[in-house]
Subunit: 191 residues, 2 copies
DNA sequence: ACCTGAACACCGTTCAAGT
DNA sequence: ACCTGAACACCGTTCAAGT
């Protein structure tokens, strides 16, 4: 009789940093950041919590840094080809994409804002600068634009997630429209 | 012999929400958010941790909401008198003041960003709108400007606190200048 | 190399009790 | 009314031990 693939510990897919981060992200997205616990994460991975430390020696700190890297660091595609004159358009769609990604993992936003983890955003700033460089925007103007844009996107997402209480009773805020309006302000001012 | 004011529990200044929030803010500013603990807060107030619950029945949640209210809600003065034509100037100095206050309590920034506590920012948005109303800016343009500005200020402060890693080796970022530059972008676009 | 079990110090919070 | 003491369930993390 052929051995059924057994259900026990021996032949599970072995733990890996990717699998850990993924499971953590799922907990945060589904139940909120405060429910992300080493023990619960262990459960989700069908492993004792302590096993995680073998892959993330710096423990929960490293886990949280990993989450930030996962959602905030990816360049969100510099919209490749179009490279050139319409840098405003490129930045606009970059901003929309980036916002979408931040909102998809709203639970980690506080970490993005908080963690002293420069590398995560460095990539992002670099890819923004790249777009501006190809648009022949002068160096120091580019610095200001990149920072303003990134600050705006992150800040606006924060406002969206927490709500400003404007929607008292009847009024409903159309966040998509509002984001685009603000984006226009920022990009129009840029030159 | 006259009784010295005794050192024991009986005649300490009684606990109050203000005293509690103040002590908490001091801990956060001095040691970081993660060190803010009900037990440590109790120590700082020379009281058992459990006494705090008598004044903040909702416990730590309520404490954190209180911190957000304290640093993010105050209107930061709508610069009173000048009321009128130079609303751009008014917004500019409002933004500078607000940034200063956020940075003075950088430890609570993650809470400002995170906490589902609309009331805290509602006041702020209202005072911004007031400035714009006096400047005769049309209603829906005002909505966009207020949001964009607030989002930018919060987002930029977040970037400042965490660092973007741009300052690799030599380059030093002049955050004050950069904030003002972005502010100009936002306000120039506004109309 | 990879994971487990037991243990430690420390959380937030409840509840009955003191004054 | 205001505070304390003891207790409970739950944290992150260490460390020796298993395979």
């Amino acid at each position: 009789m052929v051995r059924q693939p057994s259900i026990n510990a021996q032949n599970r897919a072995p733990l890996s940093i990717e699998r850990i981060i993924e499971a953590a992200l799922q907990i945060v997205d589904g139940q909120g950041l405060s429910r992300l616990t080493m023990r619960r994460l262990g459960d989700a991975l069908e492993v004792e919590a302590m096993a995680i430390y073998h892959h993330l020696p710096r423990g929960k700190e490293q886990l949280l840094d990993g989450l930030v890297a996962h959602v905030a660091a990816a360049p969100a595609a510099p919209t490749g080809a179009a490279g050139g004159s319409d840098w405003r358009g490129a930045l606009r769609s970059w901003a929309r994409d980036y916002r979408t990604r931040l909102l998809a993992h709203a639970g980690v936003l506080p970490l993005v804002v908080t963690r002293r983890n420069p590398t995560a955003l460095t990539e992002t700033v670099v890819s923004l600068r790249e777009v501006l460089r190809r648009g022949a925007v002068p160096e120091d103007a580019a610095a200001a634009v990149a920072h303003t844009l990134l600050g705006y996107v992150i800040g606006h997402c924060a406002l969206e997630v927490r709500g400003t209480g404007e929607d008292g009773a009847d009024r409903v805020v159309d966040w998509d429209a509002r984001f685009d309006a603000g984006l226009s302000l920022v990009l129009t001012g840029a030159a």
